[in-house]
């Protein structure tokens, strides 16, 4: 029972990682860009949310409604102001630029919010739980997992059925051909990054409500999102979701074996997948 519980808790934790991973998978799939400041943006949005909640006494739901457009705006600005100048075959410029941005953001947050860990008060939701076949499951983590699945499904539908999704897939497949067909790829890219960071706005609220955030946490979140994407398979939205869950299970099971080993087991599972199935577990290849 102890291990069943560990796996379930791991799946729930994985829901959070899946939320980080969607945006990364989207941005890499469309632009072949990895935003190193991905995790720092989660932290930034979470800290903004926490400060808003403290200043105006808003609940987590309101905060989320505010953070989604804020995230979209940040994403749009990031793409228009920085990344659109760097999209290309060479990964170096965009990596270096977002690395610099990450360093600057982390230290900016450190000056504004200090190094304290903070969290968002989710009210009674934070402690409510339901019993599933004898295992106590928190309502909030369950909600996080459900939202992650919903977001992944929504992204899948958007990519498959909407005009915007078609433009995204076309730009991903062949930038020049997409431009010839009348798609303004720069606008498409800006929208993709806006969506990616808007989803981080949702993830930020859940992260802050479920655990804590501090300005230096961004690096770890970037790594978890990345591992989820690679475990699941690059370019597959459902793969990123599955990868997040696997990573969560690996970490929780690992930390039940030895508290010092949780995150390490997560990394090792990632390396194993890389060694045995580098195309990812969900890839058809």
């Amino acid at each position: 029972m102890k291990w069943v519980d560990a796996v379930i808790q791991g799946l729930l934790l994985g829901g959070l990682y899946a939320q980080y991973a969607i945006g990364m998978s989207l941005m890499f799939g469309v632009m072949r860009i990895v935003n190193i400041a991905h995790g720092d943006l989660v932290v930034l949005l979470a800290l903004i949310g926490i400060s808003l909640a403290a200043a105006f006494g808003l609940g987590p739901g309101f905060i989320m409604v505010i953070l989604i457009p804020v995230g979209a705006l940040i994403g749009w600005g990031l793409q228009r102001g920085i990344l659109n100048h760097l999209v290309g075959n060479d990964p170096l410029p965009s990596l270096i630029a977002t690395f610099g941005l990450s360093l600057a953001l982390q230290n900016l947050m450190l000056t504004i919010w200090q190094a304290d860990t903070r969290s968002l008060d989710a009210g009674p939701l934070a402690i409510q739980s339901v019993s599933l076949a004898g295992i106590q499951v928190g309502v909030l983590p369950l909600g996080i997992l459900a939202v992650a699945a919903l977001l992944t499904w929504g992204m899948h539908v958007v990519l498959k059925t909407t005009r915007f999704g078609r433009a995204l897939r076309a730009s991903a497949a062949d930038r020049d051909a997409a431009t010839l067909s009348g798609i303004d790829t720069k606008v498409v890219y800006a929208k993709a990054t806006a969506v990616a960071v808007a989803i981080l706005g949702i993830a930020a609220v859940f992260q802050a409500a479920r655990t804590t955030v501090s300005p230096a946490d961004g690096g770890a979140q970037l790594i978890y999102a990345f591992e989820a994407v690679i475990i699941g398979g690059m370019g597959s939205i459902w793969g990123a979701f599955a990868g997040g869950l696997i990573l969560g299970v690996a970490q929780v099971v690992g930390s039940r074996i030895d508290p010092g080993w949780g995150i390490l087991i997560g990394h090792l599972v990632f390396l194993l997948v890389l060694a045995w199935r580098p195309q990812g577990i969900m890839s058809r290849r």
Binding site: R32, I36, L86, L92, I96, A104, L105, G219, F226, G260
Partner: protein
């Protein structure tokens, strides 16, 4: 005018002056314990390690096209090797330094074979994961004192003066091996292949350069140089812990120095390291605000001047320090 009249040079006046000055400076480092205060010696040790680590990152990213944000993996591995060899092998720490590159080399080879499956930018984050794995494993290994780290007790048998002599000799050798070695390598046949790879990997491959094998070689060589610098740096510190040896901040330093100095040029990391070193001395006390400026500067360089300061300077004055190409001179 026939082709016979055209003279082919490598060196220019600037390069002869620069190489002579550089050699004189490097050779004067081991004499420092006899005339310089310890504070200055500590600074030179740190600066030498920065130049070496940055030059290795330049080789990796600038020539090999592999951006790594996990070079701290090899800095920590080199440092820990030295401490373990001294504590458990009972070796003289100064003699153990060359052996400290073995572990980084052994770790780098399988690391590359794993990470090469990752595409461009994902490779970079993969290196970071590896560095985290090394940090977490070290933090859980009781042989190396787990999270509390190790102290280089064996240094107690030497006087402060002896330590300074040993460290300065090692630093001079480090610079000769990393900067001098890269210079000589770039002038060889191998260097031609590397430069071709830097400019365009696909066309280099079409000219018969085995890009995969070259990248493997560069990754391992860069790990060795980085490990060597790590061993010397932590020898001077006398202490190492998983948090310091495998600190991701090392990667920030590499990236800042090489990007601001000028990537894909031998002079770049030296210019960048000097800039970083003196800027940190002058503004380091501003803490987080200083780091914000470093981050924004890296961002601005990536956006507007990917060639860095040395690249900008080269546009106005063609005064190379370490010429790796050839110059044609028409007879007057």
């Amino acid at each position: 005018m026939t082709s016979r009249d055209i003279l082919v040079h490598r060196h220019t006046r600037s390069s002869r002056i620069a190489i002579s000055v550089a050699l004189l400076l490097v050779l004067s480092i081991p004499t420092m314990p006899f005339w310089a205060p310890s504070g200055q010696i500590r600074m030179i040790v740190e600066l030498s390690c920065l130049i070496a680590i940055a030059q290795m990152w330049n080789l990796l990213a600038g020539y090999g096209g592999m951006v790594s944000v996990g070079q701290q993996a090899f800095i920590g591995a080199g440092g820990y090797s030295l401490f373990a060899l001294s504590a458990y092998g009972g070796m003289n720490p100064f003699l153990a330094v060359p052996l400290a590159v073995i572990l980084p080399t052994l770790l780098a080879a399988p690391s590359y074979l794993l990470l090469r499956k990752l595409d461009g930018p994902y490779f970079a984050i993969g290196t970071w994961v590896l560095a985290e794995v090394f940090r977490l494993v070290t933090g859980n290994l009781s042989v190396v004192n787990a999270g509390s780290g190790m102290t280089l007790r064996a240094m107690g048998q030497f006087t402060a003066h002896q330590r300074e002599i040993g460290l300065t000799i090692l630093c001079a050798l480090l610079l000769l091996v990393t900067v001098g070695g890269t210079f000589l390598m770039l002038r060889s046949r191998l260097g031609l292949a590397l430069t071709a790879m830097r400019d365009d990997p696909v066309s280099a491959a079409s000219q018969g350069v085995n890009v995969g094998r070259m990248r493997f070689g560069i990754f391992v060589v860069a790990a060795m140089g980085t490990g060597l610098a790590g061993a010397i740096y932590y020898m001077a510190q006398l202490r190492i812990s998983p948090g310091s040896g495998f600190d991701p901040y090392w990667s920030s330093i590499c990236i800042f120095i090489v990007m601001v100095g000028g990537i894909g040029q031998l002079e770049g990391p030296i210019v960048g390291a000097l800039l970083y070193f003196f800027a940190t001395r002058l503004f380091g006390h501003y803490g987080a605000s200083y780091m914000i400026v470093l981050g924004l500067l890296t961002l601005i360089i990536a956006l507007f001047s990917p060639v860095g300061l040395w690249g900008l300077f080269s546009r106005f004055r063609d005064w190379p320090w370490f010429p790796v190409g050839h110059k044609l001179q028409y007879p007057r």
